[in-house]
Amino acid sequence: MKLIKRKIDGLAETEIEIRYAQMDAEAAELIRRIEQTERYIYGTDNSRQYRIRTTDIYYAESVDKKTFIYTRDAVFRSELRLYQLIELLKADDFVQVSKFCLINMNVLESIRTLFNSRLEVTLSNGEKVNVSRTYLANINMAFASKEGESE
């Protein structure tokens, strides 16, 4: 298999073209892996439906049994329940930080304890989200397992 990588200035989004003589196991696996990295979830905003790349999601939370998806600067409503999102995003870099909230590990800036024993994470867009202390071990384990995967 020959790998050709090319930087093209001004390209709106990354493009991948796979050329193959026949769809063998190697090509199929390659396509499957690429499809896995580029996954989307649908969300609505003002009755319009949007396709949201999972890597663009900062966090998702459930408020009054409604699920909201937050990107860097937008909020979408999802028809999925939080537990369904957890299931969908478990292969991605997401971690549950409370009963009602799921966060993209790649946008975490820091976590801190507040004076009244509360915990709070700061995201890379400056937004702050509450964390439940019962999920601390879960967060720690998620990071440790991701580190283990990459080593």
């Binding site: 930087k7 590990m105 800036e109 304890t113 601390l136 720690n140």
Partner: protein, 142 residues
């Protein structure tokens, strides 16, 4: 260190059970052994109830500690009353025994939370550095 303390306390617990149960079986003196089992059962109930309260998300975490303390005191007072651990005139002794233990557990919990927060922050820094490195290593023309 943590594992050492855990092992030491677990071993001590087993030895306490053993030194009360074995003489009870041999000499037929069950009073102390029954008291130890009553204590074990009470602690089991407290731990099970705390498992349940851990599932509840509260907006004020301090409230959780107060609820936990209230549950612990209630369980100890309830079983203490059933098994006659105290006289109504010296019920304050139950508070005097439970509250210091609870305060120690509270501070151990705070210490544990801080340690976990520190570990997570280190993970976050390492992950950010890794992502930054990957970004920088993204290929130019190949």
């Amino acid at each position: 260190m943590k594992e050492f303390i855990k092992k030491w306390l677990m071993l001590s617990g087993l030895v306490f059970i053993s030194i009360t149960v074995i003489p009870a079986i041999v000499n037929g003196y069950w009073e102390t052994a029954i008291f130890v089992f009553q204590l074990l059962f009470t602690l089991l109930v407290i731990c099970l109830l705390q498992l349940l309260t851990d599932k509840i998300s509260l907006k004020i975490p301090l409230l959780r500690y107060l609820i936990d303390l209230a549950i612990t005191l209630s369980v100890v007072l309830f079983f203490g009353w059933i098994w006659k651990w105290y006289e109504p005139s010296n019920v304050w002794m139950m508070f005097a025994m439970v509250i210091p233990v609870y305060v120690v557990v509270y501070f151990l919990n705070i210490f544990k939370v801080r340690k976990e927060v520190k570990a997570i922050n280190q993970h976050i820094i390492r992950r950010r550095e890794k992502l930054q490195k990957e970004k920088e290593e993204k290929p130019d023309d190949c």
